[in-house]
Symmetry: C2
Subunit: 309 residues, 2 copies
């Protein structure tokens, strides 16, 4: 297996692109493709102040590295969720992130959930007598709230996440199996700002997970390899496994599923059934001020009051 | 495991409905549910002349049996495709079908592809130098043409097929992975008549395959059990296997996938990008007279002329 660019020994073969590359050309390719996606989907420009949600895993550190090399103004935001389980999961995630930022002299904001709200994500989940399946939903709710709050207060133009194509298609498959129209209408790699939310973008949306992993390894980025200890049995992981089996049998099926979906969206599939921006603007959480459709305390703020059950 | 209706020993447990039934109550349930779907989706009435495509397999014979018991006017149409492969596949399919019709004194129309067009489905496939993957597509094309021709010429009001929920969700998954909007816009269990096509309906669309199999066994219907010898490696079979794995992990996922899709269609999820009926009406195949979008010989008629390659 030889590099298509230079004929040297290839380190990766991307069957969906029929493309094998050596270490140097693969890194160049991934950086150039990221730039291409940022421009193609009109995500942001060099003048924008970007905030990247970093977890200490391969995807977010690789994205930070790529954007830094491309010369974008990007700060990191790490949320310490208080996940330990005898493994020091959140502590170790934070260390990898801090080390990465320090090496490159990048600005990192650290937000500690327990210190700010009095309870970690597992603590609030157990107090409310939910199981670990529900913990994933609560964790997502907390992260979205904190992301949005810090991006708004810090005057950032765009909030970035490092979701890769495997993440996107697993979510797409889950939403498709439920035919959840509201969610299917909002699966683009860029969500415009509006109704109190900052713009969101996913520059890695078209890379397979193995490509972001290969990039991190080749660049010598040190990252936390384990999945969250609470993610066992998570449906997304089941869908990812099935999608990978299909990919083995039909190379490119994951990429086509995603690209054709984006094209279906452009052709007017899933007409927007969301509430209008005006309706959203009228509804603010009286406690935190973030948008909510309840007209009362938002789901995030309700987490921290005693469970009425 | 006890029958919910009478407390006798159950023969089937339908986890997606949380319903276990004995032999007698399961047969009654399946017949009543079929009647319910026919009415719910406004498929046809007692006054309509129905033509059912029968293959000699469990689904089509079970559907014929149910409709006959419900008192609908339904004739059968068997298409002899000329599939042999040393197994006499088409011959044996025909025998099971004839035996079924004779026992119930039902009218059966037999159409022999080789006798009518000079070549069987495998013969035309091989002459055109296609492989067996392509044979499935050619077979579908031939069947749709013959169904429509005989239904129109015979003055039938509705053409029925016995697709079950497993068939429908495997096709739905395939169309979703490609985000084929034209196909996704046409996945209802009823397709209205128009532009030279008779109305089509699928009364078994909400039964799992194991339910139609159980019904056939319990009713003592003799049918051909083998899959078509050319279907090996068929993508639909791969999707069916994956969907069954999901069903094991998440009972009801197949049914929800289908029901939520129908509801998404009703909510206008897929814009109609089909040509209008007027446009379709203007385009008729000069050879067979059936609708075609090519403006010249239709794909079916092109099969029987020498391959220009």
């Amino acid at each position: 297996m030889r590099c298509r660019k230079c004929g040297e020994k290839a380190v990766i073969n991307m069957r969906q692109h029929r493309l094998s590359l050596c270490s140097q050309h693969f890194q160049e390719w991934l950086i150039n493709q990221t730039k291409r996606f940022i421009e193609k989907y009109r995500m942001f420009g060099k003048e924008d102040r970007l905030l990247l949600a970093v977890s200490g895993g391969k995807d977010s550190l690789a994205l930070w590295d790529v954007l830094w090399q491309l010369g974008y103004q990007v700060d990191g935001l790490f949320i310490h969720l208080g996940i330990d389980k005898g493994l020091g999961y959140s502590d170790r995630s934070q260390k990898f992130t801090q080390q990465f930022a320090k090496q490159r002299k990048l600005k990192l904001i650290i937000h500690d959930v327990q210190k700010t709200f009095g309870e970690s994500v597992p603590e609030v989940t157990y107090r409310r007598r939910h199981n670990s399946q529900k913990m994933c939903a609560i964790c997502g709710l907390v992260k979205r709230h904190v992301f949005n709050e810090i991006a708004s207060q810090g005057g950032y133009d765009v909030l970035l996440t490092a979701h890769n194509l495997d993440d996107e298609v697993a979510l797409l498959l889950a939403n498709t199996l439920e035919w959840s129209l509201n969610r299917l209408a909002r699966g683009q790699p860029i969500l415009p700002a509006g109704a109190g939310f900052v713009r969101k973008a996913k520059p890695f949306c078209r890379f397979y997970e193995r490509e972001t992993a290969a990039y991190s390894l080749l660049r010598g980025i040190e990252y936390l390899r384990e999945e969250c200890p609470f993610s066992t049995g998570n449906k997304q992981l089941i869908y990812k496994a099935h999608l990978n089996e299909w990919e083995d049998e039909m190379p490119g099926v994951k990429l086509r599923f995603y690209i054709n979906y984006l094209s279906a969206l452009e052709q007017g599939a899933f007409p927007n059934t969301q509430e209008s921006e005006e309706e959203m603007m009228l509804q603010r959480c009286p406690s935190c001020g973030q948008p909510t459709i309840t007209g009362d305390l938002c789901a995030f703020c309700r987490l921290w009051i005693d469970d009425p059950r």
